[in-house]
């Protein structure tokens, strides 16, 4: 049977654009297969770790704190680099609003209409 279903994962164009964004040099297209393999490996491990951390806290659902613990172990989150700073640094505005619900500056304050 031919695998008709599209394999779940990030699209090639997306992976390559992100990689090119962070790479300091020019990137040839033939790094993609290797990159894809590495990404698959990474996500496998990620899922495994998150599952273990959730089970450690006697949960069956992976929550934000599991991800934070994972990033702490990976060395992305340290005492001098909290999660919120990373979110501010790397994520687009919509995601930031989702993850850090704070009052944004420059919003309009509409005064209450005066009662007569």
């Amino acid at each position: 049977t031919g695998s008709a279903k599209k394999d779940p994962g990030l699209s090639k164009s997306y992976v390559m654009s992100v990689f090119k964004h962070f790479a300091k040099t020019k990137v040839s297209t033939d790094v993609y297969p290797v990159l894809k393999e590495i990404m698959e490996h990474y996500f496998d491990r990620l899922a495994d770790d998150l599952e273990t951390f959730a089970a450690h806290a006697k949960r069956k659902t992976i929550e934000v704190e599991d991800v934070e613990l994972l990033m702490r172990r990976q060395g992305f989150v340290t005492d001098s680099m909290p999660v919120n700073v990373l979110i501010e640094k790397y994520l687009p505005m919509e995601s930031r609003k989702l993850l850090i619900p704070v009052a944004t500056s420059g919003n309009y304050v509409i005064p209450k209409p005066r009662r007569k």
């Binding site: 273990t52 450690h56 806290a57 006697k58 599991d66 613990l69 702490r72 172990r73």
Partner: protein
Amino acid sequence: MLSTTSCLANVNCREKMPTAMDEEERKLQRLKAAVHYTVGRLCQSIGEDHQKEFSRQVIAAIAETTFRQCDIFAKDLEAFARHAKRSTVSVEDVKLTARRSTALANFIQRKSEEIASANQEQRDTRKKIAGKRKNTEMV
């Protein structure tokens, strides 16, 4: 010339009250010395097994590595315990730190089982002794 400067330094040291920082530093040095000693002993016994010698520098390097690794382990264990909403580090947390390396994980698993069974035996003997005492008291 040298002696006078060292004397001055000594006088200064004596005049200064021992601060908390100094105390902390001394503690650290003591711990490092203890680790260094143990590492030396371990290296000696391993060297005897393999008919090899460890140079002093190697032992010092291993001791320093061990010391820094302890720092990492402590932070990890703390994080894992807090993650499980505990303030006490348990065997489960230790297993979690070592799960990346299969051999080490298996070793720790075996050890933990040994310790658990030993504890169980201890409890059993205590119970027996307590039971015997009760029996004698009854008689």
